[in-house]
């Protein structure tokens, strides 16, 4: 097998392990921008369809004329969108538009006012008529749907009466103002003037809705009127203003329409309210209120406009268009209701995507097997430190004054001191879930904190942040710039902090799901204090857990929990940047790795592999069913009721093992530290820190000295 094919196989394997359609979908559904993508795609598809089926459709002049035709409807749809976002609805927009169109022509042609006056007066008409809706809905608390339906009927009937009376006046009079012609037929930078005005309005509307206090109030009222009222938002006034705004937008639309058409008849704006409603709901402005943007309203508006316009140009009968609009509205309403109700559930249902993960064969643990893994009772005699005074010391660390530190579940670093290590104190409270710890050169305690990042504690107990984010992976949907679960860390001779971020898809409380998923979601990250930059070194790593800089400072050892393997990543020397598999076959799930006094390494196994669990890792569907159908306390888990510490050398050979086969005192061992002839034990769920004597170990060796003092084994 040549190197290239091997690489190709490895690549495709990695591809399959990293991406599955479901995985992609589950992360897509979480994205804010995903919802408008669907209507946006429909919009493009619709344009493409008409471009193919209608001659000269996708030409610049036609697009210009489409924009000119659309803009007025766009204003009306925007008014509808604002009223929907406020939790109401304004069905009178179409009739308001017609009234304003009439008003413009009346002021201009009958009263002969100047253009500025006409515009001001028309906007005032729109504001007053919208204000009537506003008073009824905001202050008198009438139901928006029926109220605006009635104002629709009244306004429609009024404008029909007025039209009958003035139609001939309008037809015989014309305005010779150039400004007026510009409003009707002009272009700004090649864009029809009304479309340009719409675009500017959209920009203002967007800033108003998403960046201004009033926009937020409006959204808050739409999301929950009751909560908004309790929060002290003037609900009545805001609702009143919303309908005034809707009326003003219709007035602007009416002015442009009047300038373009210079006529009015009984069909002006008829049915626009329902088209606008269909449009904004289709775009994703929620009927329930409180959700939507001006852009989404426009996407929906363009879809409806393209559809009605295109169907007319294709010669389709009006009743057919009516049925199509009705079906779209029905579908959009149903989709809106179902989507807003079930989005979270849908994501939850498909978020966990187990992959097939065949583990390498596990070595035998039998006492008579003669292997270094053979079970023994060497940890049973461990003495307890701080019995019932610590909550799950995931990592333990000892300083040069022989004081013992444990990182506990309650977000504390607990310190035991005194001759018998009986004096307990809270060295520092960080919060989060402190995990791996290490001394830096200045004897600051650097801690990996799940849920927070990497923090440091000065010798006086003061906490400072080291880093909490890294570079974002540009092709990943999940934002992985934040450190979700910094697990273990170690510090190189140059002061760089190497740490594992074991999952980018789950949190501290759900990290067991990452193991069950069995995908390379973790990463190795490095923080360089010289540049204060944090960089992801290895992306896509199967649950990296233990991190240990090798004695010579040339490489970093990485324990992969879900693969049950240990890797070596070269950080210096000729192999810099290469990742090697160091230990292939291990009987359990790897946790922390730490240095030993004789130039070897300690390795903690948090759980012991079982044939059933190994089989489950090869059966992703089984694990998926388990996660979905079985309560969490019944899930298949590795053997967690053992304690095991291994010792291995630079070549990855296992030298010996220390066992607590009962699981009573030291199960789920996650960490061990050698210090002056003793081995200290920490466990994720334990109520103590353990300690056993190592008769053959260097009685002067301390962790700090092995890194920064006279026990270093690197070039210094």
């Amino acid at each position: 097998m040549s190197a290239t094919t091997w690489d190709a196989t490895r690549f495709s394997k990695r591809l399959r392990a990293s991406y599955s359609p479901r995985l992609l979908l589950s992360e897509l559904l979480l994205k804010q921008w995903f919802e408008p993508v669907i209507p946006f795609t429909i919009m493009l598809g619709l344009f493409g369809y008409f471009a193919v089926s209608i001659h000269d459709y996708a030409t610049f002049p036609n697009i210009q004329s489409l924009m000119r035709l659309y803009a007025e409807f766009g204003f009306v749809a925007l008014g509808m969108a604002f009223s929907l976002i406020s939790g109401g609805i304004d069905l009178s927009v179409g009739a308001l538009f017609a009234v304003c169109n009439f008003a413009t022509l009346f002021f201009l042609l009958v009263l002969g006012w100047p253009i500025a006056g006409v515009i001001a007066a028309t906007v005032a008409v729109g504001a007053v008529l919208g204000g009537i809706n506003g008073v009824l809905i905001g202050y008198l608390k009438a139901r928006p749907f029926l109220t605006t339906l009635v104002t629709l009927i009244i306004l429609r009937a009024s404008v029909n009466l007025l039209n009958e009376r003035y139609a001939t006046v309008f037809a015989t009079n014309t305005s010779d103002s150039t400004v007026w012609d510009f409003l009707g037929e002009g272009f700004v930078l090649g864009i029809p003037v009304n479309a340009a005005a719409l675009f500017v309005t959209l920009l203002i509307g967007h800033v108003f809705l998403s960046r201004s206090r009033y926009g937020w109030h409006l959204t808050a009222i739409g999301a929950s009127r009751k909560a908004a009222r309790h929060a002290g938002i003037p609900v009545e006034r805001m609702l009143f203003a919303t309908y005034v705004l809707s009326g003003v937008l219709c007035a602007i639309g009416g002015i442009f329409y009047a300038a373009r058409q210079s006529s009015t008849d009984s069909t002006t704006g008829v049915g626009w309210e329902f088209q606008a409603l269909t449009a904004v709901v289709l775009g994703g402005v929620s009927l329930a209120g409180g959700k939507g943007t001006v852009w989404r309203a426009m996407i929906g508006g363009i879809i409806v406009f393209l559809l009605t316009n295109g169907l007319v140009r294709l010669g389709i009968a009006g009743y057919f268009t009516s049925a199509v609009i009705g079906i779209i509205l029905l579908a959009a309403v149903c989709a809106d209701v179902k989507w807003s109700k079930n989005r979270g559930k849908a994501v939850q249902k498909i978020y966990v995507n187990p992959a097939r993960l065949p583990l390498s064969p596990a070595p035998s643990l039998r006492r008579e097997s003669g292997t270094p893994f053979a079970q023994n009772d060497r940890l049973l005699a461990a003495e307890a430190i701080g019995l019932d005074q610590v909550e799950g010391p995931e990592d333990v660390l000892i300083d040069r004054q022989d004081r013992v530190y444990g990182s506990t579940r309650d977000g504390n670093i607990i310190r035991f001191s005194g001759p018998d290590l009986t004096r307990r104190e809270v060295f520092a409270h960080i919060g989060g879930r402190p995990l791996g710890m290490q001394w830096d050169r200045e004897e600051n305690l650097i801690v990996a904190v799940a849920g927070m990042g990497v923090y440091g504690i000065r010798p006086d107990g003061q906490v400072f942040k080291v880093t909490d984010e890294t570079n974002r992976t540009w092709y990943k949907l999940n934002d992985d710039s934040r450190l979700r679960m910094a697990d273990d860390l170690d510090i190189g001779p140059d002061g760089r902090i190497w740490f594992s971020d074991c999952t980018t898809r789950y949190e501290m409380t759900t990290n067991s799901l990452d193991i069950i998923e069995g995908r390379p979601n973790g990463r190795l990250v490095v923080y360089d204090p010289a540049t204060r930059k944090t960089t992801t070194v290895i992306n896509h790593f199967h649950f990296p857990n233990g991190i240990c800089v090798a004695h010579d400072g040339m490489s970093v050892l990485i324990g992969s929990t879900s693969l049950c393997q240990v890797f070596r990543y070269w950080i210096e020397g000729p192999n810099k940047g290469r990742l090697d598999l160091l230990i292939e076959h291990l009987p359990g799930f790897v946790d922390n790795i730490n240095r030993a006094s004789d130039g070897t390494y300690w390795l903690a196994l948090v759980g012991i592999r079982t044939p059933a669990f190994d089989l489950a890792m090869r059966k992703p569907d089984f694990r998926l069913r388990m996660v979905k159908q079985v309560p969490i306390d019944e899930w298949l888990a590795p053997g967690l009721n053992h304690g095991c510490v291994l010792k291995f050398d630079e070549t990855g050979r296992i030298l010996e093992s220390f066992w607590d086969p009962t699981g009573v005192n030291h199960s789920t061992l996650t960490s061990m530290r050698e210090h002056r002839g003793y081995l200290y034990l920490g466990g994720l769920e334990n109520n103590r820190i353990g300690r056993i004597r190592l008769p053959d170990a260097d009685p002067d060796w301390t962790g700090y000295d092995a890194y920064w003092g006279n026990k270093r084994r690197d070039r210094h």
Binding site: I153, I154, K226, L287, S322, C334
Partner: protein, 359 residues
Amino acid sequence: MQATGRTASVDDAAQRRSSALGATAQDDAEPPRRRIGRARSYKPSQEQIVLLITLALLAAFSVALPGFASIANLLNLLRSISVLGILGLGMGLIVISRGIDLSEVAIMAAGWSVALIEMQRGMPIPLAVLLALGIAAAIGMANGLIIAFIEAPPLFVTLASGFVIYGVAFWLAPAWVIYAPNDAHGLLLLGRGHLLGVPLPIFVFAGAAIAMHLFLTFTSIGRFIYAQGDNPEAARLAGISVRPLTVLAYTIVAALAWLAGLVWIGATGSMQMQVTQGTMVFDVILVVVLGGVSLAGGRGSVLSVVVGCALIGTLLNAFTIMDVNTEIQNIIRGVVLLAAILLDNWLHPRDEETARQGD
């Protein structure tokens, strides 16, 4: 000691339960109408107000309009409102259950247009009548299913289905006016016939109203509809199958639309698709809301619909005699409906703490 204490508390609980059951039984035994009447006595009853206004208008028009107070005109008035009344009975039912059906008129027009076209093409008349009923019921059921199971707001669902119904019906029966066969006397009888000198539509309306009243007042399903309208969540928690009930309500509305269409065809000899485009459905809502069937749901009765109908019928009749422009009629009706909605709002204000969005 402990054991005794526990027994005692169990006994207490049992007693409480039995007394609660007793209370329920007593409530059931009590005529529901009285309960409604008692609740009303705190505020002026909307039905009474509307009835008084109607009587005042009748008196005023009798004096002011020549020819208004004749028996023939009054019968004519009653006949002309019977279609509106039958549609109003359906709308009243659905509004009581806290829904609304904006597609009711479209259902009436669509079902009958297709059936009349089929009659013209030679389908036996009874079969075509059943076809109209089947179409109407199917549409109503579809409305109900979408509203009950997808939980989409009824306003929007029925608004949209109105468009779809119109579009599809016009595609199947492409004409604005479709005439009934002249020889179909059985079909036209309900709309045209007389009994003891009184036009049959009045009897049809009266019969439908009485049936609806009995249904709403004396059947458990009818009471459940009130319960659902009053508080759907409480009704559901009390064990009422709210979803099937919703489907049933929308199907009944559609069936009443079919009945109204039957009377309509008898009276005019044709079915006009134009009604789906007009404001007729708002007249129906007007009739219902005016009479005191609150849009908040769970309130009102058949009497409300009848009273509302009388007022609107009187107005319409007077407009016809006075030859008022349709647009002005629309404006007046709109203002009256707005006033009715505001009155309803004043009498039954929404509880800001429990009000739902979008209604």
